[in-house]
Amino acid sequence: MNTLVRTTGQTRIVDLDGDVDLTSSPELRETLFEGLREAPRVALNLGTIRYIDSSGIAVLLETLREAQRLNRTFVLFGMNPSVHEVFKLTHVTRIFQIAETEEQALAIP
């Protein structure tokens, strides 16, 4: 898994590439939690990840809970079909704020 972190206005954007699994999910958790500490909004780009398992979904849930605790915003965007399938299997699709594009993610209040 590779991550690229960039900032647009008040939003910390994290671009993910590769596999999010038991091996890589702790690093993703650290990146997202750091983003929440340093910016009021974090947007996670899922467009180029090839694979995510339950450990990755668990990190996203933990991040959402942390965002709520800190009164921050956490949004997802660019979800590809294989990732969407895992979200459906884990019944978490409705829990997250999910945008199709980065522009739409940035427009979410």
Binding site: D21, L22, Y51, A58, L61, E85, L89, R94
Partner: protein, 138 residues
């Protein structure tokens, strides 16, 4: 088609992607579409991950055996470890809509597979996952 295969792997999470790739290719031979192949491989990876985390407590020196058998109407995946036995009370899927991260893997396994059985014997701890072939599910 008669098919049997046995994989013996160590409880090293970095090996899981290779096994997942093999599972996607094996299941494709039996007529599942790409989405189903990915889902089955994901469910198997979740079952293997559970063994690494809960039977071997993330130690990489454990051994997990996966036996695959194609039968008349379904494919059986039998995973065995020699680590700590699972606590049946803790094998549960999370509630829908919950923000609690635990139980996600169990949710995936139960949604993807048609049957799941857990047992323990002198040989170790077993989880048997069964998925019917596409035509048998209609």
């Amino acid at each position: 088609m008669i098919f049997r295969a046995t994989f013996v792997i160590s409880s090293e999470p970095r090996l899981l992607p290779a096994l997942r790739g093999a599972m996607e290719q094996i299941t494709a031979v039996f007529g599942w579409n790409q989405t189903d192949c990915r889902a089955i491989a994901l469910a198997l990876q979740e079952a293997l991950t559970n063994k690494i985390r809960h039977a071997y407590h993330n130690r990489p020196d454990g051994v997990i055996t996966m036996e695959i058998q194609a039968r008349e109407n379904d494919m059986e995946f039998r995973l065995t470890d020699q680590g700590d036995p699972p606590d049946p009370g803790k094998i549960c899927a999370r509630a829908a809509g919950s923000l609690t991260p635990g139980g996600l893997g169990t949710h995936i396994i139960r949604d993807v597979m048609d049957s799941v059985f857990y047992s323990s014997s002198a040989e170790g701890n077993h989880v048997v996952l069964i998925r019917r072939f596409p035509e048998a599910r209609i």
